[in-house]
């Protein structure tokens, strides 16, 4: 027995995505955002996309390119305060935005990845954030029903990977990437480093290979991956 090789090219990986796809995108701010996969999605130009991402990046970075190009119809997110374009498009009715609490987004993705259907939580009860969501009682407590979130694709940024798709993330670049890799029918990964099978200790893997479908090794990193000077 041996573990299968899932490495491919950037073009081929993103080429799997059709118009209208629902796509999870890792990252919290710059760390963990798969800028190269996003740039290829911009280049290929798939339309009418629904994106799920913690934030909308900042102007000129990451998914802001896809907002500017008009490829995004809908965004499920927790906070877009650092992207004035996203707020403007939302206010102009050109971008549908669904806000979700940050940890609730993480749990909705976990539920999706774990094949559960929904969960009950007291988070948001009695606030505008729970309006329109189903409520139900459990042991005398009023709870909100939050539904599982899955998608067709996930775009994931890893620090190191082997060819089977075992992944490691660096520092706070981990954030939403593990849950998103698990919650997609097809998980597409870019990695800064590709190592041989067996080079990652089995105890040190953040996302196990079975959750990954296709894997691209990055060349030299673009400026988008760098430090942001404020």
């Amino acid at each position: 027995m041996s573990l299968p090789d899932k490495s491919t090219s950037l073009e081929e990986a993103i080429g799997r995505i059709p118009d209208g796809a629902r796509i999870l995108i890792g990252g919290f701010g710059v760390p963990g955002t798969p800028f190269a996969l996003i740039q290829e999605l911009l280049r290929q130009g798939q339309q009418s996309l629904t994106l799920v991402k913690n934030d909308a990046n900042e102007t000129g970075l990451g998914i802001d390119h896809l907002l500017a190009s008009g490829q995004v119809e809908r965004l499920i997110t927790t906070h877009i305060g650092l992207n004035p374009r996203a707020i403007e498009l939302m206010n102009a009715g050109k971008l549908q935005v669904e806000f979700c609490g940050q940890g609730i987004l993480a749990e909705r993705l976990h539920a999706g990845g774990a094949g559960l259907k929904a969960f009950l939580t007291d988070i948001g009860v009695g606030t505008e954030l729970a309006v329109g969501k189903p409520h139900q009682e459990l042991n005398g407590e009023t709870l909100v029903l939050e539904t599982a979130l899955r998608a067709d694709f996930a775009l994931i940024h890893a620090d190191t990977a082997d060819r089977f798709g075992n992944l490691r993330y660096a520092a706070t670049a981990r954030n939403f990437n593990p849950m998103m890799a698990m919650a997609a029918d097809c998980a597409l990964v870019e990695t800064e480093r590709m190592v041989e099978l067996g080079a990652l200790a089995p105890d040190d893997i953040h996302t196990p290979g079975p959750f990954v479908d296709h894997l691209v090794e990055l060349g030299p990193l673009s400026q988008e991956y760098g430090l942001v000077r404020r």
Binding site: M1, L3, P4, D5, G115, L116, M182, P208, G209, P210
Partner: protein, 218 residues
């Protein structure tokens, strides 16, 4: 292992396609590993928290912290990963398990599976079987055609408590390969040393035969 069991296991090994993630149940299914070609690209999953399970190890080579879900000391392939039980069953329920091969007490012609409890005699708990059976993309039962008393295990309905409903895709026995279809059991292959009549007699429900009448042997 008897010739009949060897034949069953060898036939079951052909269910494993390149690139699959596979969970093999305790007992006969575990033996499939020995029938895969050298270097065959497959990822074995052990639900106690391991992907990339390698062959079983002897006592002298064993790592006290490294077992499969059946408690056997195992090795790992290069590229294996350890994870917690939460991640392990997320893999199963989330649709990442391509195939599971399981034993059975009873199968019904609608694909119902009973393999965890015999009321009053055997009720150790369901463990991970329910999720494997209900959520693997493909469920193959590997079992003798009849029980120790010669009674059919393939029935029109299960009498024992179910593990999962309508989950079995294929049954491989010492006598035959049979698929569960919307029309019930469909005979696909016959073992070398048996007859159609013997299989029909040992099966507790009707069998659909191939329309061209040709039944391959295995």
């Amino acid at each position: 292992m008897s010739d009949a069991k060897l034949r069953m296991v060898a036939r079951a090994a052909r269910e494993v396609q390149p690139g699959m993630v596979v969970n093999l149940g305790i007992g006969l299914p575990t033996q499939i590993v020995g029938h895969l070609p050298q270097g065959f690209p497959v990822c074995l999953h052990s639900e106690n928290g391991l992907a990339g399970t390698g062959p079983v190890l002897g006592y002298d080579e064993a790592d006290r912290n490294l077992i499969d879900a059946g408690g056997a000391y195992v090795s790992t392939l290069p590229g294996a990963a350890f994870f917690d039980s939460l991640t392990s069953f997320a893999l199963v329920r989330g649709g990442r398990l391509d195939l599971t091969v399981l034993g059975a007490f009873e199968v019904a012609e609608n694909g119902d599976l009973a393999n965890w409890k015999i009321p009053g005699r055997f009720s150790p708990g369901v463990g991970g079987a329910i999720e494997l059976a209900q959520k693997a993309q493909r469920v193959v039962v590997l079992s003798t055609h009849t029980d120790r008393k010669g009674r059919p295990k393939l029935l029109d309905r299960c009498s024992l408590p179910l593990t999962a409903k309508s989950c079995v895709n294929r049954i491989i026995t010492d006598l035959a390969v049979i698929d569960v279809t919307p029309q019930g059991y469909a005979l696909r292959e016959l073992a070398e040393n048996t007859s159609l009549e013997a299989v029909q007699a040992a099966t507790g429900a009707a069998l659909t035969l191939p329309s061209d009448g040709d039944i391959p042997r295995f």
